[in-house]
Symmetry: D3
């Protein structure tokens, strides 16, 4: 069974990606209290592979995952691809379809289930804008991927 709202990994990841300033601090303080690992960053690009690389690099550098262990990178990778599907909604493509994104991302690793045997899970949340490669011609977009790790 999933824990109650405040200990939900996806909810925390989304809010961490979306919030700034005092609201963000509230989330990070709560994640520290839970002793969950997390990181946050920004990336903008017309190339999907830069989005994937930016998230993987941030998660490795901040020790949210162990970059030497394929099983951890495999778990993270699939969570990233799932989050990207929410952002791109249908065609997992950016530049090829003449669009670009400006995203804030959050990666959270924790134990979201009551049952300790369910172990660790990882959530990747993306929040930002998607649109034409012209400033202002864009709307918001969100994605969330979750995997066991």
């Amino acid at each position: 069974m999933l824990k109650e709202a405040k200990a939900r990994i996806g909810r925390n990841a989304i809010l961490l990606a979306m919030f700034d300033g005092e609201e963000e601090l509230e989330i990070t303080r709560h994640l520290d209290y839970l002793s969950w690992r997390y990181c946050k960053g920004k990336v903008g690009s017309m190339e999907l592979q830069k989005i994937v690389a930016a998230i993987e690099t941030a998660a490795k550098r901040n020790h949210v995952v162990d970059g030497e262990l394929y099983r951890e990178m495999h778990a993270l990778y699939h969570a990233v691809v799932e989050a990207v599907q929410g952002v791109t909604r249908g065609q997992v493509e950016l530049g090829d379809l003449m669009r670009t994104v400006g995203l804030r991302f959050a990666v959270v690793r924790g134990t979201p289930y009551e049952n300790a045997a369910e172990g660790e899970w990882i959530a990747v949340a993306l929040y930002g804008t998607i649109g034409a490669p012209i400033r202002g011609l864009e709307h918001e977009t969100v994605g969330l991927g979750i995997n066991h790790i």
Copy 2:
């Protein structure tokens, strides 16, 4: 250009779908202040068509869209399908792939751009769980669709 964070339609829709109680009230108070139309509901099913129908019905009943006008229903429909893609991440199927969802949805209609000529837009946000049709075997999921209306 999009307005600043508090007047972002996608952000408001996501928070409205995700929050309860006092936090939810803060969002609805803010939406009322903006004079934006919105509604919120819950739906759980293994059938995608019930998800689509529940959101459409709620949006019509709460006068977020005019159910007699195809252009409004067309705008809402595509926003719903895009939000569902974030929830299903890859295959837009539930029961056929032996999975079920329990979702809270929010529909928000407003004017998220500085330029008044950009007119009204609609956002559909989904937040909840997806998993096997067995209680507890599930994780969180999120989707957001945005369209001009």
Copy 3:
């Protein structure tokens, strides 16, 4: 090399599916002149499988394909699925996504290449409306699939 416009199999299939009355007669007369096999029909449904079945049945009954020969049914099947992708644009689903179609279909079998060794090809064209299961809440849709046979 493809033959010139009037002997193009896809163009003929699209026009056959789209036209009525005198315009339709002009196409069928031309197809008879080319000694190409063809058939035409109508189907409306929220179930994709009824669309596929209606086209396959019409093509068999009108001897456009030999229903006993898997290689012919395989060629037709893939042409149908490709045409359906043009109609559904993204998610190859109807009822599951709360939408329905009213389609006219045409199947044309002929020799569209200058080089006789290129042999016979088959085209499946679909033209009609797609929309909500409420009369009038719909727009047009088109699909074309082409395969060697």
Copy 4:
């Protein structure tokens, strides 16, 4: 309710993309009579983004859409992507899958519904060939996307 055949926006867009010479003139004369806006062009590429850009540029230059208004570009963009899905049938990719297209496109903006409140809609039609990047190794392809604007 959609107007009768001659005032259908998708049908007009398909025929405009497909026809040459006298047949084309008949369509443009009819579109002028309806006071609908339209444009037509050609584009060949292994890069999808060039297809998207060519259509967007033509539609802006010919005042079929207002390039300064995101809601118009957003409506056009989604119609283009839907049309491209009919052309690519399954994988929205060209060069990555070693294929190229030679397309004629038409964009039509008009009022296809009896009810004036349904307002303006936009149709993007594509007709041409798709195949290997070797002359002659290609077959026809069609796509149609329609959106409210």
Copy 5:
């Protein structure tokens, strides 16, 4: 680094799904020697959900996975869906597209990496036929999904 060919989890799963009699015995003897867990079964259906359910049930009954632990079911589920994508090639649908499958499946759980820290992985292999719901109108199909567990 992956171990050499004989200790590859995907290769073993594919051969286990594909082989009968003496050849199959050779694979199962080798899997027993590796102390890897596995199971094998058959399922035929026009409904994808029966395919998914048959594999999950077999894997639980044969203790290849622990049905009480979501992280194990989640790992298995995604491996099944990936294998199904190889079988369906493009549209993850059977009956909706008027086609049916007759499949043999194998699930193998083992340690395919030299580095013990990479832990356990699970492979789901499918081999059989796909085609029209008419005996004989079918060709072979294969799918493989692999996940960390």
Copy 6:
């Protein structure tokens, strides 16, 4: 009806792609006995188009298909794309999603049906690894495409 196991085109293609040394010789001897045409090769890339090109080139050079005849190249092309879908499982992309493959491929052309009128078919099998562009961070992957030719 498909012939018995040893004369199945997909099975032979998969084993040819997967096996080395003595096991491979057994397959090629059997294919020679059946008088079926085949070829085998290796390709590694982050670019899908190099995979497609490598298989097409090998099949042409080894006279498995006639590169001058579009109907043969069309049959091969669709078999390749279907095989690639098994390898990529969901998103037909490699480098754009920051992943790379190392594949062995086999193309087999033969008569897999009892009924001689079913004629020739072509199978493309892929077997190898997919993963991050870092040595060792990869798992196995398989794909099979079959088409009439």
